[in-house]
């Protein structure tokens, strides 16, 4: 048995847990830990330029791989800077372990230098947190933290470590627990067979069935099983913003994303369905629209989720099924195959004919600019999709560019679309793309961003230079906070209060170049494809592609506030 200090034990425990990369930023309270990192070579530490970026990078890594992302920050401002990233992960149920330094135990509560109550500050945005009191507790606490973060409904876990606990002079016998049992934490097992039977009966009797699948399917590794079940049933399926890739977008049964900026056919199918199989979703207000009483008025709602608290939180489920998505889907598929009653093919045909009519509306059709020069933001995403053959990891920030990427990239695989859905964190995309590139060095990591969001974490251009990350940043530059401006156009008489700043934008090309990267500007539609190809051809360089797009463009369709899902604005001149 090795004699280790707390700092050494922490790093050893992370290694024993299978961690090979952590994202962090040093400071006084974590110096013992950084010394332990210096003295080993099993875990790679990535030095970011801001703690928020460390959390987003770890988050991107977790979304891409399914493994918990790990973050190390110092006390006080280091810890508080991490909060936005922790909250982002919490809202989207992303497994993450955040280790924060703390002042020495004797100073806690004395308003010591760089002291903040991290357990208290982070409490509403973590799945759980630990304050370590003895070095010898570190192995068990690390084991528990990873177990909690990655099982059940995943989420971030904070471990707060007072500096004295990591003191190199205080050693103890290190042993990593093989497994743990926590009497107060049980992971829901398989779904109830009787409930699954009830759900299958509803699906078999349905005349206008619909499948609504979300991020839980991706988190729960259920995408393959969902695809099998959906094909077996022959039902239409929609994915949420968080669920894109859970079902292949290019498949004929896929009707597109639903919700506030969902397709016409997805939202219409939701509104008029008579049986709704909701899997790994939480009936978020961006899906249901603001008045849930108008949501799917005719539907029997079957809700599958691993988190009992998600069920009947906003919309009451007629058949609730608590269990891991994959186990429920598996049993559901088996029951469907064995069922004496078969799918009502005749009604289903009528239903598909109706959906085909809705599809004819072509709600994502792009009207090219009249001058033939101005670039539409949607065209950029379509071009990126073509050049990357739909096989890139696409991270995004928040705003119009995020919705365009979600609508137009067409994700065929899970874990390829990396975005902050729940919290809607501007500044998320670029560091998340770093996490992706570290996880998959040979993959294409694209960050679709806007000139507003990008400026919220642009300091990471330095990190990308240090670690030679060949990320492709596609900036849909409309010289404004586009989504804010869109709402101001639609609801505030076009009064653009603090949403424009064209006169003070940096020269992004020079900015990228000043960090040693490549910058390419695209202003004319005629050069869009060629210049994008040029960017993607630079395989070992970070390229910042500044695409000047039409600043007048709005994201459509758009849900009408207070309406049902069928109520949409389809363009500047058309409503449902």
């Amino acid at each position: 048995m090795d004699q280790l200090s707390g700092g050494e034990a922490l790093i050893r425990a992370l290694h024993d847990e299978g961690v090979d990369i952590i994202f962090g930023y040093p400071g006084g309270a974590v110096l013992h830990i950084y010394d332990a990192i210096f003295n080993q070579d099993k875990i790679e530490h990535i030095l970011v330029r801001h703690e928020q970026a460390a959390t987003h990078a770890a988050d991107g890594y977790a979304r891409g791989t399914g493994k918990p992302g790990v973050v190390l920050v110092t006390s006080g401002p280091g810890a508080t800077n991490a909060i936005t990233g922790i909250a982002t992960a919490y809202m989207d149920s992303i497994p993450m372990v955040v280790i924060s330094g703390q002042v020495e135990s004797r100073l806690i509560g004395s308003d010591g230098f760089q002291e903040t109550d991290m357990v208290g500050v982070s409490r509403p945005v973590v799945k759980h947190s630990f304050m370590v009191q003895n070095a010898a507790d570190i192995p068990l606490i690390v084991k528990k933290a990873f177990h909690i973060a990655s099982t059940g409904r995943p989420g971030p876990v904070v471990i707060d470590l007072p500096k004295d606990v990591t003191d190199p002079k205080v050693k103890f016998d290190y042993a990593y627990p093989v497994d743990i049992k926590m009497r107060s934490y049980a992971v829901p097992a398989k779904g109830h067979s009787g409930q699954i039977k009830k759900a299958v009966d509803v699906l078999m009797a349905a005349k206008r069935p619909m499948i609504y699948a979300g991020g839980g399917v991706i988190q729960g590794e259920g995408a393959q099983m969902l695809t099998e079940l959906t094909r077996e049933l022959g039902f239409p399926i929609t994915n949420t913003l968080m669920g894109l890739g859970a079902y292949p977008a290019s498949d004929k049964q896929f009707v597109g994303m639903l919700g506030m900026h969902g397709t016409y056919e997805a939202n219409m199918s939701m509104h008029y369905c008579d049986a709704l199989l909701a899997i790994g979703v939480r009936f978020d207000d961006r899906v249901t629209n603001s008045d849930v009483t108008k949501f799917c008025p005719d539907a029997t709602i079957l809700h599958v989720d691993i988190d009992p608290a998600s069920i009947s939180k906003t919309v009451s489920a007629d058949v609730p099924i608590v269990g891991s998505v994959i186990s429920v889907l598996e049993e559901m598929l088996a029951q469907v195959k064995a069922s004496k009653q078969k799918v009502d093919e005749k009604s289903l045909k009528v239903w598909w004919d109706q959906i085909a009519q809705w599809r004819e509306k072509d709600s994502l059709g792009v009207t090219p600019s009249e001058d033939g020069i101005t670039i539409k933001p949607q065209e950029v995403i379509q071009a990126v999709h073509a050049i990357t053959e739909g096989d890139a990891y696409v991270s995004s920030d928040v705003g119009q560019h995020q919705m365009f990427a979600a609508q137009y990239y067409g994700f065929d695989k899970p874990r390829r679309w990396i975005n902050s859905g729940g919290l809607g964190t501007m500044g998320f995309g670029f560091p998340a793309a770093m996490g992706i590139q570290f996880a998959f060095p040979d993959a294409i990591s694209v960050c679709v961003t806007g000139e507003g969001s990008f400026q919220m974490n642009l300091q990471e251009l330095a990190t990308c230079m240090q670690y030679q990350l060949p990320i492709k940043i596609i900036c849909l530059n409309n010289r404004a906070l586009g989504m804010v401006k869109q709402w101001q156009d639609m609801q505030y008489g076009g009064r653009h209060s603090h949403s424009t700043y064209a006169e003070s934008l940096p020269d992004f090309i020079k900015l990228a170049e000043s960090y040693g990267h490549v910058g390419i500007r695209i202003e004319n539609k005629s050069e869009l494809n060629a210049k994008l190809e040029e960017a993607f051809a630079l395989k070992d360089r970070l390229v910042f592609v500044d695409v000047l797009v039409d600043p007048e463009e709005h994201v459509y369709p758009m849900a009408i506030k207070g309406g049902a899902m069928k109520d949409m604005i389809l363009s500047k001149s058309e409503r449902t």
Binding site: P124, R183, P308, A309
Partner: protein
């Protein structure tokens, strides 16, 4: 409707703040709250009263159960149960008031536990309604100070909340 929820949770630092934080974070009410270790020192029992319709109470119990420190819980108001609250109350009592206060205390089966020439300190146990009624009976004008523990409860019969 008013509900009494009893929670067994790990007797760990920060556990209570998670419960209380959950209520403020999700905009649930806590009307009263009591907490103390159980016969098993590793567990605390927390009893709280809250109000809400069935749906709200269901969400409250689900979210409480989700807290990693919470081991088990029961909504006592779902079945037959016993509830008690302890009150210490200080009242002004001079002259003829002293006999009046003593008599009222006896009727409510309370005890005078301390007194001076002008002040009685009374202890009273019972349901929250009974405690309210006692204050009304004494007359609010003579009440100087009230310390109530909040509701504690246990289910009737053989049902137990244990690991």
């Amino acid at each position: 409707m008013r509900h009494i929820i009893s929670v067994l949770m790990e007797n760990e630092p920060g556990a209570l703040s998670r419960v209380v934080g959950l209520f403020s974070q999700r905009n649930y009410n806590i009307d009263s709250l009591t907490v103390a270790p159980t016969e098993d020192q590793s567990l605390s029992r927390l009893t709280l009263t809250t109000t809400g319709d069935e749906r709200r109470i269901e969400q409250i119990t689900k979210h409480l159960n989700k807290l990693v420190d919470v081991v088990k819980l029961v909504d006592l108001t779902e079945g037959a149960h016993i509830e008690r609250e302890l009150m210490l109350i200080k009242v002004k009592a001079t002259g003829a008031q002293r006999a009046e206060v003593t008599r009222t205390t006896e009727i409510f089966r309370g005890q005078v536990v301390d007194l001076t020439n002008s002040v009685f300190s009374i202890q009273l146990t019972g349901t929250s309604d009974k405690l309210d009624a006692f204050i009304t009976a004494l007359g609010e004008s003579i009440v100087l100070e009230v310390a109530r523990t909040g509701v504690s409860g246990i289910s009737r019969g053989e049902k137990v909340l244990t690991l």
